[in-house]
């Protein structure tokens, strides 16, 4: 039965109302939106907010300048005054911790976006191929993803970085190595279920080509779950990247990257806990933002929750 114009119109406005309703019912989505968009904006603005080369400048003299006016913590017997401009104190290289955090946000977000976008691309190509070709191709692709899902991702990344060296590109590649199989499987199962829909049958009956159907119709129609997963994974990728740099796989000890900053602070954490608390808190807020947003997106885009 085909819908008339006003019926489609009515359904669209009902969809919109539903989305608005879900937004209201789950105010956490709004928090997620603010946190995730906020972190992206901060990342884009960071070159204008702070001197982007300041991470290379170390001040051995300021090394123990741990005064933290914000929390009233700190070493009172430091001779020189260094509290005024260092709201969060300095890190163990004598650099302004707040500046370092602002510089680190774009680094982490960039890695996360690169990893997730590449994983989505790999997922679409291999997942769609596997489900559409079926048979031996499908089997081989599935077994290969099995291999990568049978290892703790962080171990795989460690070995990868040992072999190829500690650079930002290798770090990105190492994390991508963990993430791509999930997307291949996700796209595969999406395409498989989408393939059974009646509209694919009718497209085939009017003589549309296989690849045209696959990439023009099926893939765009299964994009929502992919979008949700990608949003959720930005948070998880940042967690993994920071865990890797925290355990000492950072390309450089000076690199302003949230996990690395926390790692620098971990040696002093009984005397200056904020050195680890603030970088970690930043990771938590960014990751929480994308997770909340992804969770809310799923509720809004999941047709099964509709009544």
């Amino acid at each position: 039965m085909s819908e008339t114009e006003p019926q489609i119109e009515a359904r669209r406005s009902a969809d919109l109302r539903l989305a608005l309703h879900l937004f209201r019912k789950n105010p956490l989505v709004l928090v997620g939106l603010v946190l995730s968009v906020g972190s992206i904006v901060l990342a884009l603005l960071s070159p204008f907010l702070v001197n982007s080369t300041s991470w290379q400048i170390t001040h051995p003299l300021l090394k123990n300048c741990w005064n933290n006016p914000l929390f009233g913590w700190g070493n009172s017997n430091i001779a020189h005054d260094c509290s005024s401009s260092y709201v969060l104190g300095t890190d163990s290289y004598g650099r302004n911790l707040l500046t370092m955090i602002v510089l680190a946000i774009p680094v982490d977000l960039q890695i996360a976006l690169e990893v997730v976008l590449s994983a989505v691309a790999i997922g679409i190509v291999f997942g769609a191929t596997a489900s559409y070709a079926g048979g031996i191709v499908d089997e081989v692709i599935l077994r290969v993803t099995d291999i990568f899902l049978a290892v703790p991702g962080i171990l795989l990344a460690i070995v990868f970085m040992v072999v190829f060296g500690r650079t930002l590109t290798v770090l990105t590649g190492a994390v991508l190595l963990i993430w791509w199989p999930t997307y291949v499987r996700l796209v595969r199962s999406q395409v498989l279920s989408e393939k059974e829909r009646p509209y694919v049958e009718s497209l085939r009956s009017i003589g549309a080509g296989r690849f045209r159907i696959l990439f023009r119709h099926i893939v765009p129609n299964s994009i929502y779950p992919l979008l949700v997963q990608a949003t959720l994974d930005i948070g998880s990728v940042i967690l993994t990247v920071s865990a890797l740099t925290f355990i000492g796989l950072s390309p450089s000890p000076l690199l302003p990257e949230l996990g690395n900053l926390a790692s620098l602070g971990s040696q002093y954490f009984f005397t200056a806990p904020w050195l680890i608390i603030f970088p970690g808190l930043t990771i938590l807020l960014i990751s929480l933002g994308f997770n909340l947003l992804g969770d809310g997106l799923r509720d809004i885009l999941d047709p099964r929750l509709r009544r």
């Binding site: 009515a10 009902a14 309703h21 509709r306 009544r307």
Partner: protein
């Protein structure tokens, strides 16, 4: 339609709304209904007319987005709408039972047929003790009359008779008797090899067998009211006939009233005593079955009956009711049927017609007959 005491169930002016994102669906608009003791009342209407909503309201199992706006549901003299949740649950356990349409999705796939029946009895051991003991005693008495009672069974009979007076039964003993009773009930709904059926999973049964299982689940409770919601719709025609035959047999055996919900007038003609016709959330006509088929008063009922294909009719003469079921978010004013009614006149869109007794025991909600 007074709420006389011979009614097992009386529904008065029941109004139910559904909150959806498209707006408020006024699903039931003052439904009046009564089921007398021992009768089979058919509730017919198109899909979407509110039959199942009526049934779920009676059971107190409306989905979360539904709201009962007004009315009464009186079962055995108690108004269920004012009772506490726990009381309604007890009423579901002891007084009414519902059999649903699709026998596959309504049975839990990971539990055996037997355990899904037994759990009902185990919910309230005190209530079901006399039931299971009486069932066993009946067997033993029968054996006694036939003179095949063993010595052990004689002792069991004596102890059970004593138990029946005290009404206490150990857990294990109860379970043993309950199981025997459940197997016997499976036999009563004509399932072959009830002992084996007891241990089977729903997916191992055919559609008709599953429907019999669901009926058995209702029967073990000895309900005063059985609500059967489209129980034959999902079945093959031959199986449909068997299930209806079973229902008719059981109706005579157990002392229950049945509210039979269906869209199939043939089913109504076969089994019901009285019929209520439902349209867009209203009961539009209630009458004895013979009377209704002979003398349909409401234009909607007339249309329904005319739409039944008859083998003796001239070819190409199949009629249907013009228009389609109204959107219940913005229902038609006055009589909800008036936009489709061939005999509508100026009064119809203005107000809702009252239910009047046009002939003896034949009620109709239409301005053509007064009001």
């Amino acid at each position: 339609m007074d709420g006389s005491t011979q009614d097992i169930l009386t529904v008065k002016k029941l109004q139910v709304n559904f909150h959806t994102f498209a707006g408020q669906v006024k699903a039931l608009d003052g439904v009046d209904l009564s089921v007398k003791r021992g009768e089979v009342l058919g509730l017919v209407g198109e899909s979407g007319s509110g039959k199942s909503v009526t049934a779920l309201s009676i059971e107190g199992l409306l989905p979360q987005n539904a709201e009962v706006v007004g009315g009464q549901i009186i079962l055995n003299g108690k108004d269920l709408l004012t009772e506490k949740q726990g009381e309604i649950r007890t009423a579901r356990l002891r007084e009414m039972a519902m059999v649903f349409q699709d026998p596959l999705t309504y049975l839990n796939p990971v539990l055996t047929v037997g355990s899904q029946i037994l759990e009902i009895l185990e919910t309230d051991r005190r209530v079901f003790t006399p039931v299971v003991v009486a069932a066993r005693l009946e067997d033993l008495n029968k054996a006694a009359r036939e003179g095949t009672l063993t010595e052990k069974e004689t002792r069991e009979k004596a102890s059970l008779e004593a138990l029946l007076a005290e009404q206490t039964l150990g857990r294990r003993e109860f379970k043993r008797l309950a199981k025997a009773y459940a197997v016997a009930i499976l036999g009563r709904v004509r399932l072959p090899e009830p002992e084996r059926m007891f241990k089977m999973y729903p997916f191992e049964l055919s559609g008709g067998m599953r429907q019999r299982t669901m009926i058995a689940m209702a029967l073990v409770r000895r309900p005063a009211l059985l609500i059967a919601d489209e129980i034959t719709t999902a079945l093959d025609v031959t199986v449909q006939a068997q299930i209806l035959k079973l229902l008719r047999e059981l109706k005579d055996q157990i002392d229950a009233s049945i509210l039979l919900i269906t869209h199939d007038l043939a089913v109504v003609a076969e089994i019901c005593d009285r019929v209520a016709v439902m349209y867009a959330g209203n009961i539009v006509e209630v009458a004895e079955v013979g009377e209704l088929f002979k003398n349909p008063l409401h234009p909607y009922t007339q249309g329904l009956l005319a739409a039944i294909p008859r083998p003796d009719a001239v070819r190409g003469e199949l009629t249907s009711i013009k228009g389609s079921v109204p959107n219940l978010i913005y229902p038609p004013s006055g009589c909800r049927f008036h936009p489709r009614c061939p005999s509508a006149f100026e009064k119809c869109p203005l107000s809702k017609p009252p239910l009047v007794e046009a002939r003896a025991g034949h009620y109709v909600e239409c301005f053509l007959y007064g009001g």
